[in-house]
Symmetry: C2
Subunit: 678 residues, 2 copies
């Protein structure tokens, strides 16, 4: 046997669905040497996951991808609930707002998975540098993975060895295609894992194998995750599988049902349906299939056809008519919730997305939680690979994301049960699900389902006090936050976006657009009313300290795409900026402030080739063109005193502290705990 | 000599700058067989025209291109005026709003010409059909043009014969490149026309010629227009040329001047400067060059170097410092204003843009008026070529655009004189230009400079009464409008965009986004409060009449890109829609209206494959997420009675009439006058 080719890489990503692509984009933007492989021949073209929660849109927007989704997606603004009346005919029992107004500039939206995968691929391409043009390597599967345990704590080592096999097109094509319609069964949990098949078919051709030595490997390889299985028995997912089977169809409906363009939950005596209006005149229907059941064994898949699913839907819609000419995609799945105890092995091999938590798709959570997993992981692996962060930060991934996965399957279990339940006949019907009960469950879950409610535990990254009785065993920050200074910038939660006015040119900006995902931590200095001499002195003294302190921190090279909302970086400078970006948001009348004359130069740093930076100081208050900005009020910050809000590279609040010497000390402690290599 | 290859085309466009590309995009979207040729080797990469007025952005947005400009461009929201104090040092004499708040969703913006040319090329590509993939043919110049006058009135004839020569790269490269810096002099009016040169150099190779027979030819070939010159002496442009020379530089400034990111007019004792802050940290400076003059003859171009221009700028900025490291582009020009008497020959050969009006660039008008010329012409030529409109509509092009060109050069002459003038020393200084006078001139011209003030004359296209004593000789509509029904939808002016709420799914839309440039006329039925039975009957009776009347109108095939704001048209139907699109905007409480049950089906047409159309009915009023829509108030329409507003395919108001039998008669007269072929 000839020797296999060998190579090194910082990060190897297995699987190029939304979780894998999100991670690849992060690492491309950070300039980390990365490969991403996928067993399929191509990206998804129709169907699959489709719901975008507001936090996902915010995250995508931080890479410059959000606008494309937001433009093409269908937005679901209101929701209808339908229930059977005393004669069993369905009627609209309630109609209300869908997501929470004011929570975000985005609302829940729907666009098929293939588009977002395409947007990721474009954004990764836009991040090309002379050193790296990261592309998905398709028709490649891993066949072995080993960790050299003696080297895991050596930051420079490549202790994970993976064998990759390059397939032919024939080998990579799923065998389970059932019909001419775009049929998603082969990706459903009703289908068997086909990796065994593929390996079997490709066995004879080991010559097309190669060996990759990686610092880190991330399995984003879905519910049947090869990576998870390879890591061993303690990585098995656990949970419940119910007997309930649901069908899914993407059709262009021909119907007289009045709420077909609203998100709608129908409970009828013939079963339940959820309507998800989509882009391109399409509608997705989730249809309870009461006449099939997993029962004790596997489902008889031959029974589940588009025709069968659609007839079930027609019964629920009755007396309204439902027909279609175009069907874009269909599938079916069995309701169940499973998650694993471990999200990483030795902080060298990680699992993300469906590889470590699966559940039913109706709540539109799957793709979102998966992308958010790798959004959480990407900057940590990236900055550790670059030597900027110590390895111990990697342990926060499992801590932060396992809790979300658990919340997710709890939510899904409860929600699915309510949805699959029999509608209550009347108020005395205790085993049925009443419309009120269902609506209440829906509305109370919104902070979770929007993704905005995520609240990370205290660690070195989040300087907040632990709740009593919780000890996760990871090191905590020695810094102390003062949450009361910024009541709506909650420690451990995502920093919200509100509008502010750029001092230099009066343009209104979403503050998020000045906080792109490029690996930098942030100090947002809410400087208060700096038209008052004493407050200006406070802010400028703080600036003088920053000027002294910042050079002690690491620097980071910014790559193409790192500032996606401010135009391309055509003119470049020789100096790498600090890993910490400083922004000033003041509450003084804008015309009373002279950017260059009044505020310390740390807030408008000078570059010998580019001059002063005019993009770091923002005001609250009036403009000629739009409603006044009300940033201080919305962030919950006092206009006279202000506050400093410290943000992680993923936009979560890690520190809230005063603009003062005390604040300086807390900042030193916070960053000290994060950047210190032991 | 061998015979030259011959071919036929509906429209031949000469010149692929903004005017030519706008026309090409229109014709691509309409599916008109078109060719576009340009003498240069490539599109513009830096410098050139850069200012986008709000009307241009609205027009670009109607093709789906506006968002790209709006995202990348620098927005100029406020303006500063600086003048010399009694010691001659400059100070900020005023600071105010730049454009008119509330006029449009856009504001004046700046992005270099190469980007917009690139966006046009992308949008044209997105309009590809199996029948046509329109691409700019570069390094091609026309060498002869003849019109067969006997065939001009035959709508199906191809009476214009043009010989095209295909150049080599060497032949097409301008000889006037002066330095390594991107130097725009070769496109400036200080440069000689180089077509003669090119022809001379390429003479020997006539074998690379071809003959094109076109229905229509449009010269978008700039100030030295070969097309114009070929049409003969009566097409010569007339006007004034002053002695004043101005320099232009695009630099990344290193300066302590406080207003460098605002649009700023500086009058100093050393000359005048206009600051145009741009994308990518750049700033454009227009710099009066007091030390050179055209005098009696041509300017000594060797004197005009970046160094010379920059030194002049430094003097004006003094005592503020100005330096730079990066210069992206520079040029110089001589102030003058010229326009032609004729914009078309026999309505078979047309001129647009700089080919028929030139002026100084400082007001940011050039590219805008040029694009608006061909925006006006495109749908007319397109729909005439397709046999939908009679040829006589083509005469409205010269009528409508010549007036704008004249207004433009009047404005520019006045504005340039004020700007180049000596600043007044004090209130008694009558020969100097006072700051107040200058500011007043600036502000009063804004309705014109935004492009929103354009007001077209009464013709078959615009059913309004002529002012006394005006007779342009073209036929007028026999329909009579009632302007008072919609006081802010002014006849002859562009229909403004305000937000409305889609009945079917509660999404807020800019109404412009439902009026894309795809060749269709529109009837916007403001139906009033249709929760009232009598008003609902009125609107539905009107709908019943529409259902009867519409089939008498032509139909139009919609092509890819024709609905750029509503996602791609993945699902298609067999039927071509009417040339007239009908939208209903009501003022009833949204939750009181059942789209399918309450309003006539003409407002939600049924398609046998796609079901009902959910995208045609909109409401005014409240939503959960944003400020309430106030469309009726903003359009100046009474909520109880409503109005019907008739729009041309370019979005200009052609008819305002009641929702009644009277309105039906006026609509029949209006469309009768437009579509009737004699």
């Amino acid at each position: 046997m000839t020797e296999l080719p060998e190579s090194e890489v910082d990060v190897l990503i297995i699987g190029a669905g939304p979780a894998g692509l999100m991670l690849a984009l992060w690492l491309a933007r950070l300039g980390v040497k990365t490969r991403i492989v996928d067993k399929r021949t191509d990206k998804v073209y129709s169907g699959q996951a489709d719901g975008f929660q507001v936090r996902s849109l915010e995250i995508l927007d931080s890479f410059g991808v959000g606008e494309r989704v937001w433009k093409e997606a269908n937005r679901m603004l209101e929701i209808s609930f339908w229930n059977p009346d005393s004669n069993g005919a369905i009627f609209r029992s309630a109609h209300s707002v869908n997501t929470i107004p004011g929570l975000s500039r985005f609302t829940e939206s729907v666009l098929h998975q293939g588009r977002i995968e395409g947007f990721f691929l474009d954004a990764i391409r836009d991040s090309d540098t002379p050193d790296q043009a990261l592309r998905v390597e398709r028709m490649v599967i891993p066949t072995s993975l080993e960790i050299d345990e003696s080297a895991v704590e050596d930051a420079d080592a490549h202790p994970v060895t993976v064998t990759l096999r390059h397939l032919t097109e024939e080998e990579a094509t799923p065998t389970q295609m059932l019909s001419n319609l775009a049929d998603g069964i082969f990706r459903s949990n009703l289908a068997d894992d086909d990796v065994g098949d593929i390996l079997e078919r490709s066995k004879a051709r080991e010559a097309r194998d190669e060996i990759v030595r990686a610092k880190y490997v991330v399995g984003c390889d879905g519910a049947h995750s090869w990576t998870r299985k390879t890591l061993g028995k303690e990585f098995e997912m656990k949970g419940e599988t119910t007997d309930a089977i649901w069908g899914v169809m993407d059709i262009v409906p021909i119907t007289d049902f009045p709420d077909i363009r609203f998100r709608t939950m129908i409970h009828s005596t013939s079963g339940a349906i959820m309507i998800i209006p989509r882009e391109n005149r399409m509608v997705r229907l989730y249809i309870q299939l009461k006449e099939v059941s997993a029962g004790s064994g596997r489902v008889d898949r031959s029974q589940i056809t588009p025709d069968f699913i659609f007839k079930s839907a027609q019964k629920v819609f009755s007396p309204y008519k439902l027909e279609y000419h175009y069907c874009d995609w269909w599938t079916a799945y069995q309701i169940g919730q499973r998650t694993g105890d471990h999200f990483s092995k030795l902080d060298r091999v990680f699992l993300a997305g469906d590889a470590v938590h699966t559940h039913s798709p109706k709540a539109g959570q799957g793709m979102n939680v998966s992308m958010q997993d790798s959004y959480n992981l990407g900057w940590k692996i990236g900055l550790v690979s670059k030597g900027i962060l110590p390895r111990e930060v990697l342990s926060t991934y499992e801590l932060e994301r396992k809790k979300i996965a658990k919340d997710l399957i709890d939510f899904d279990g409860k929600f699915s049960k309510l949805f699959s339940g029999r509608p209550a006949k009347d108020i005395m019907d205790e085993t049925g699900v009443s419309s009120d009960e269902f609506q209440k469950a829906f509305h109370t879950s919104r902070m979770f389902t929007t993704g905005v409610g995520v609240n990370y535990e205290p660690t070195v990254l989040v300087a907040k006090e632990a709740e009593e009785g919780t000890d996760h065993g990871l090191k905590r920050s020695t810094a102390k936050s003062t949450q009361s200074l910024a009541t709506n910038c909650k420690l451990g939660q995502r920093f919200p976006s509100h509008k502010v006015i750029r001092q230099s040119d009066a343009r209104l900006w979403e503050l998020h657009h000045k906080l792109p995902s490029n690996g930098r931590f942030r100090l947002v200095v809410f400087g208060g009313d700096i038209s008052q001499q004493s407050q200006r002195d406070t802010v400028n003294n703080f600036g003088a300290w920053l000027k002294f302190y910042m050079p002690k921190l690491p620097t980071i090279k910014l790559l193409p795409g790192s500032d996606p909302h401010s135009g391309s970086m055509k003119f470049i400078t020789d100096e790498d900026p600090s890993i910490v970006d400083v922004l000033l948001v003041h509450s003084a009348p804008r015309d009373k402030i002279d950017l260059l004359g009044d505020v310390h130069e740390v807030y408008h740093p000078f570059d010998p080739k580019l001059g002063w930076d005019y993009d770091k100081v923002f005001a609250d208050g009036e403009t000629y063109y739009e409603e006044p900005a009300r940033a201080y009020e919305k962030y919950g910050i006092d206009k006279s005193k202000g506050a400093v809000v410290g943000l992680r590279p993923d936009g979560y609040v890690g520190l809230v502290t005063p603009v003062s010497e005390e604040g300086q000390q807390e900042i030193e402690k916070w960053f000290g705990g994060i950047f210190q290599h032991e």
